[in-house]
Symmetry: C2
């Protein structure tokens, strides 16, 4: 006997997935190939399709179909495809339908305008242009959160949009422990002689950089029959279904490792999506388990693989071959140290492994205070300077180097930032498990063989897609039921003790 | 006082336009950049969005909105934006809503499967694989046409899908006169010594070909801030609104003029769309007046400009500069004659100016007979051979060179072919008017200055978009109320008399 409601639900969900794929393509094209004067029309197109997708996903008839299909599949195991799909659709529907349409439109409209104000403010390094918009967005997000009463912290319903089920109460102690150890590590590093990376700051032919990058991501297992790499101003990964996961990159002639690490990062995201079980295609389960899990994969490949000594044992000879002029006299050890140089800087996206999380904590703490009303929008620049000095020992000279550097708030997104740091922590927990279960892990990487690691990641994480909550996904992938910052700091400590000699 | 129904209609139509833009982007990407294994998912995505667009455009509520808006705008002049938009939407709605949903689905579904059968049949040069599908499609199109009773010829409602208001009674005499004169011209050419184009059949570096092509289309006025050129297996033009009209091309190392003429052809299509009045953007008026008018623009630039002596006076020196090895010893006259060599061939898309329309007439006559039941599907290959011998003096050796060469029937499209020939005829009528109104036309082209021609075409045709019927558009653009084949044959006669010396 068939399950007619479930089948109808699955088809309706597949059509909504198709709409989202079209939106993703419109956005991908916007970032890669869009003619200069087509920008305004493209925004309209994306807006219209997003509206249609939202209408379909929040239609009362769709809600009823979810209910009926859920009853129909109630007897199936909770980890069955049917149960997982119903659960995911129900959660999305519930979250969406709690928000009155006028509020949702006001948030979307204000975010669109705020984004323009932010871009102008950033251009002019003048926070006052963005300030009233940011205040409005925070007020709207407070109203948004009210629809999810009761909550322990007003920040929780926002965080839940990125990390289902995660709360301030849960991550505050994690971050507190992390901050203490990372700051202590930074102090130790600062007391040692700095690493020399002068040889990296010369010209490296972009064409040859791309040849190298393509060799690396091919070896990582990026499947060019189910994806492609193009150029864009801000590198990203996007998916139009499980058979088309594309990445972009950016090359700088004078920053040879930047393009590589960026591509490896995006390729890590892509391998996650490409590893999801094919049976989940054209459903909302065909994505990562959460933002933090997605970031765990990009960071694992970027930091734990592509910044590792083992990785360069294999790839450095090839890089020297491509750039003999620049690297012939640089030994592997010196190159490895240069790639891992630690130096507090003002811009999050350029931060190294040892300082990155501190940039996140600064933003996370500020978001909580803004939402809880203990920090005024007008006071952000001053608060930013203080925290930056406290955590990184340096302070921005202007707002473009401070509060205006990130796009997230301008789009009305609060609760996104912590997922970056959580991703780093999860990556470390997964890595420690990989080292245990794959005794030949280092040896295989030194041979340029990434299949054991890729297959392991696929088996413990990728295949599941978004079938389970982040909490359950954490248990499946790390074996632990909690996020443990010690894994991350232990790995850092070990690595930098060797590099900086303390 | 505002027009609230019209404003609502305009917004709804704009959203449907956005959906069509997204479909066009999905298709553009499919032909240019799609990873190999993403094809099946992409078909699903296009199918879903096409279904949504159809649902929206045929919803009873949308029909009522059209009615109310039409009443609201009834007092406005018939050439006003409001009246034209209402007329166009009403026509589209009426045509769509006459067809019962089950029949529309059956046509779409059968066409999708037929297309696969056709591709296999073509691959194997075996018509029998496609034959039952073609029979089904013709039967479905007959049922389709029945919903447009009364008609004079069952072919008329199909033709009307491509050329609103055009009928068999109207174009039969046009084609009869055209056929007679073109066949006579061919006989005259065949009696003369053949042109030598051996020097074209050598290697021409594809990269350098593209440099040349880009110079030509830039001079034609193709606006790269509102479009781009990429590579695809079958060159085409597509539009995602009036600020993003893209073309594709294909380069062959041994056919140097093929890529150029193909790009110029597509650029002709693109200039039409790019020249449409911006106020029509995001409406169904933001397209060509009909298929024939669109083809008139591509053919005008391809044949009347890029195959003209004047054109090569300007561009041949540059081509020689790029390819000295191949062309240094070839004088302009010889090159011009080679580019205009006439030789009956079996494949429509490769046909020259003097034989192209004959390929069309063969198909048009066959379509009429198939729809009217005077030709059986099983008898097509034999009928094809006979007509091909009669018109071109040659016959296909297999079905791939005959009935299986074109995609149109496999997609259930009947009535499309005649628009190609009509486009040629309209191009000639427009050209003759241009020669009259622009006394410096030839001189400007000899200087590589296409602005006078482009501005003229924009003024007499492009700006109007699809505001008016093809009939009214014909009057506006040619000054004549009928399609006159003599313009075309007179131009041909004059050109080939000079080239072949009769």
């Amino acid at each position: 006997m068939g399950m007619k409601h479930f089948d109808a639900l699955r088809e309706a969900a597949a059509e909504i997935s198709d709409l989202h794929a079209a939106i993703a393509l419109l956005e991908w094209d916007q970032q890669t190939f869009l003619p200069r004067n087509a920008a305004a029309d493209r925004s309209e197109q994306i807006g219209t399709l997003a509206k249609f997708a939202h209408e379909k996903a929040s239609a009362p008839a769709f809600g009823k179909l979810i209910e009926k299909a859920s009853k129909e599949t109630a007897g199936l195991p909770p980890d069955s495809f049917e149960a997982c799909l119903c659960r995911k659709l129900r959660r999305n529907f519930d979250k969406t339908s709690r928000i009155p349409v006028p509020l949702a439109s006001r948030i979307a409209g204000t975010a669109a305008k705020s984004h323009h104000a932010w871009a102008e403010a950033r251009e002019k390094a003048d926070f006052s242009i963005f300030q009233p918009w940011l205040a409005r967005l925070i007020e709207l997000r407070r109203q948004y959160a009210e629809h999810f009463q009761p909550y322990q912290n007003i920040y929780d319903p926002l965080l839940d949009n990125f990390e289902e089920g995660f709360t301030v109460a849960q991550i505050d102690p994690v971050f507190a422990a992390l901050r203490e150890k990372q700051c202590a590590l930074l102090r130790k590093i600062a007391a040692r002689p700095q690493v020399d990376d002068a040889f990296l700051h010369t010209e490296f032919d972009p064409e040859k950089q791309l040849v190298f990058v393509n060799e690396v991501i091919s070896r990582m297992g990026y499947d060019f029959t189910r994806g492609r790499q193009d150029m864009s101003e801000h590198p990203f990964t996007t998916s139009f279904g499980l058979n088309d996961v594309r990445i972009t990159t950016k090359v700088f002639a004078t920053l040879p490792v930047s393009c590589l690490l960026s591509s490896v990062h995006e390729c890590g995201h892509a391998l996650y999506e490409l590893g999801i079980d094919k049976s989940l295609n054209r459903t909302p389960l065909a994505e990562g388990a959460s933002f933090a899990f997605h970031e765990s994969q990009s960071r694992l490949w970027e930091n734990l693989v592509a910044r590792s000594y083992d990785f360069w044992v294999f790839f450095y000879p090839r890089l020297m071959e491509l750039f003999p002029e620049q690297l012939a006299k640089v030994p592997l050890d010196a190159f490895y140290r240069a790639v891992n140089k630690v130096e507090p800087s003002l811009i999050r996206t350029e931060a190294d492994e040892a300082t990155y999380n501190l940039h996140i904590m600064l933003r996370y703490e500020m978001e909580k205070e803004l939402l809880n009303g203990t920090l005024e929008v007008a006071d952000i620049p001053e608060a930013w300077r203080k925290k930056s000095l406290e955590y990184l020992g340096i302070a921005p000279e202007n707002d473009a180097q401070g509060v205006l550097q990130d796009i997230h708030w301008s789009m009305g997104e609060f609760g996104y930032f912590p997922t970056y740091a959580l991703g780093n922590l999860i990556a470390a927990q997964i890595w420690i498990r990989a080292e245990k279960e794959l005794p030949e892990l280092g040896a295989s990487i030194r041979k340029g063989d990434f299949a054991p690691l890729r297959d392991f990641l696929r088996r413990i994480l990728h295949v599941y897609g978004a079938k389970f909550t982040p909490e359950k996904t954490l248990r499946l992938s790390t074996g632990s039921s909690r996020i443990n910052p010690d894994c991350y700091t232990d790995l850092l400590e070990k690595k930098y003790a060797a590099i900086y000699g303390f």
